[in-house]
């Protein structure tokens, strides 16, 4: 299925974004990125050593991939803005995933500060991808601020618990114009398929791939799940019904009056 879609200033084929923070080995990471078919990869700027010959993992990210630096570690809008500027000044491009996480316990994002940072960075010419708590009005504010996409969490980050916030994410998918990329909580390929069947534009997966026994194979499984979920969505999933269709309908007599 080669249906293309556009996000920010890019046209993509893949609908799977991958994270890089939890791999045990950079060669494994590289192979996993390749087998995931991902075209967008997120990297924490805090981990990138900008002055060194081996700038952490940048050398091991395949060249065709769009880099999406993230502001991991930022606790407020101001820190996120500084990290974004540093990323751009260091030649990492103009895509930025905003993570403003003032909570070290559940790692939940701060929507208010995220909106502030999004407004400022869009003004500065970034393609902004805010990570957020699923909430329609916050999503609308991000859309109005000019976000390239909105990235609601499916469940607390790293929890592998699946799309727990399904209702809220569904509302965002139904109501917003901007692409919705479900990020965090996706623990297994079927969770990714579920998000895609709901009509999400893409998903971002990190923990579930990086900490799998075989990350390369898991990356491929996610690729296939995302493709299957998307195909299901495009094909038009039939409505679910609470009741079986009775073979002797109660109103059948209306049709058999002759």
């Amino acid at each position: 299925m080669n249906e293309q879609w556009t996000v920010g200033d890019k046209t993509l084929t893949s609908r799977l974004f991958v994270g890089t923070g939890k791999f045990s080995d950079h060669q494994v990471m590289k192979k996993a990125i390749l087998s995931s078919n991902a075209e967008v990869v997120t990297v924490a700027l805090r981990r990138v050593n900008l002055n060194e010959e081996d700038p952490y993992i940048l050398n091991d990210i395949p060249g065709h991939v769009q880099l999406m630096p993230n502001t991991s570690g930022a606790r407020n809008a101001e820190e996120a803005i500084r990290i974004a500027r540093l990323a751009k000044a260091s030649g990492l491009g103009n895509w930025i995933k905003i993570e403003v996480i003032p909570d070290q316990k559940y790692l939940l994002p701060d929507n208010y500060e995220t909106i502030k940072a999004t407004k400022a960075l869009v003004q500065e010419g970034f393609e902004v991808f805010p990570y957020m708590n699923p909430d329609l009005l916050a999503g609308k504010a991000l859309q109005d601020a000019g976000a390239a996409a909105v990235m609601p969490l499916g469940a607390p980050i790293g929890s592998n618990r699946g799309i727990r916030l399904k209702e809220m994410i569904q509302i965002m998918i139904d109501e917003l114009e901007v692409p919705i990329i479900v990020d965090a909580g996706i623990g297994r390929p079927s969770d990714a398929a579920e998000a895609m069947e709901m009509g999400a534009d893409a998903v971002l997966v990190n923990t579930a791939i990086a900490t799998a026994k075989n990350p390369v194979q898991m990356a491929q499984a996610f690729h296939e799940a995302v493709v299957a979920g998307r195909r299901g969505y495009v094909a038009g999933i039939g409505p679910t019904s609470q009741m079986a269709n009775a073979s002797s309908p109660l109103t059948g007599f209306l049709h058999s009056s002759n």
Partner: protein, 374 residues
């Protein structure tokens, strides 16, 4: 309200009795839990009964750590810049009653140390001094921090307890973390072993991590020196202290260390012998109690033990440390270290070991964002 109030409420619990009453079935119940653990559950995991479940605890601790931190390990080094101390503490080599030539590094010396550490490929450091406002005043710490900010991505402090405003000044200079050990939570033993000096003020020290959080430190690391009192109780209070801080200061990353008392100058012997088994139980119980908290492991422990501790919940390790002032730039023979080190392997050797064990050594995990830069 400070942690002192929490400590005051809990210190009268009949710990010995409670620990003895805990049964294997209680441990199994806590291990089956998927929701966050309470204080009582933490006691269960620290009990003698839980010693029969170390493997089950280890499996769970390993799984939780990989889930939250990935297959990664942060590396750091300590940098000692002064060993002057105004306290008399029975268990420490820097105690002022031990007569040895004391050293305080000049900024030039500090720069030499910085270069030597940088050559090892290290980006995160802890800046340490003995506890003396006279010899290591805040101005000196500020100058040192500003200099070191040119070399490193993250600088933590381990110095005498300071006031909130002083921590704020140091944060503006480029410091982002604070390490302070309570040494012992048992107030009576605390008074007994801290014989003279400002360190005798139990409450001021106990509230130090909280002052660091209030000042805006990104990370705060606490710990008890195991061997000074019943380790089960001490680890319990460490965990409850960490939980108190993490709940109240959501934006600060709270980590703990589990240092064991090491041989040092002087004749003090540990009150309690803490075995490897006890240390492992402490780490595992803490990981299950605080799944997202950092756990720091120093070179105090032997290479063999450190190798085995890596997958049990540890998230930060030091390597190739020197605990003597000026010990990186020149060989430190004849100098006095704060405690004896066990693991002398190089940064490269530790990196290699981590890779063999399936962990990625993380050298850099922060970017200085001080206002001077932006």
């Amino acid at each position: 309200m400070s942690f002192f109030d929490v400590y005051t409420d809990l210190k009268h619990l009949p710990f010995e009795e409670m620990f003895m009453q805990i049964q294997p079935a209680d441990v199994e119940q806590v291990l089956a839990r998927t929701r966050p653990l309470h204080h009582e559950d933490f006691l269960v995991l620290l009990s003698p009964a839980a010693e029969g479940y170390l493997e089950e605890m280890a499996q769970k601790a390993h799984q939780l750590t990989v889930q939250h931190f990935g297959r990664t390990m942060q590396l750091f080094l300590p940098l000692y810049i002064s060993d002057y101390c105004v306290n008399k503490c029975k268990y420490c080599s820097f105690s002022f009653d031990h007569v040895f030539p004391r050293t305080k590094l000049t900024l030039d010396d500090i720069e030499k140390e910085a270069k030597a550490i940088k050559d090892k490929g290290i980006e995160h450091i802890i800046l340490l001094t003995g506890e003396s406002r006279i010899h290591a005043p805040v101005e000196y710490l500020n100058e040192a921090t500003q200099l070191l900010a040119n070399y490193f991505s993250s600088i933590s402090l381990e110095v005498q307890p300071l006031q909130t405003e002083e921590y704020k000044t140091l944060i503006r200079s480029g410091c982002d973390g604070l390490t302070v050990y309570q040494e012992v939570y048992n107030e009576n033993i605390y008074k007994d072993i801290h014989v003279k000096g400002p360190k005798r003020n139990y409450r001021f020290r106990l509230d130090t991590p909280e002052r660091g959080c209030m000042a805006g430190m990104r990370s705060v690391n606490i710990g008890a020196l195991l061997g000074l009192d019943d380790w089960r109780k001490e680890v319990f209070f460490t965990g409850v202290h960490a939980q108190y801080l993490q709940k109240k200061y959501l934006d600060t990353e709270i980590s703990v260390s589990f240092p064991r008392l090491k041989p040092h100058l002087g004749s003090f012997q540990p009150n309690v012998h803490v075995t490897d088994r006890n240390l492992v139980q402490s780490i595992l119980a803490y990981r299950l109690f605080m799944p997202r908290s950092g756990i720091t492991l120093s070179t105090r422990e032997s290479p063999q033990l450190r190798n085995h501790l890596i997958p049990l919940g540890v998230t930060k390790m030091s390597a190739e440390s020197s605990t003597t002032v000026g010990g990186y730039a020149k060989a430190s023979s004849g100098k006095n270290s704060q405690f004896e080190l066990s693991d002398g392997r190089s940064v490269e050797e530790i990196k290699q070991l981590l890779k063999e064990k399936g962990y990625w050594p993380v050298i850099k995990d922060w970017e200085m964002l001080s206002e001077e830069i932006w």
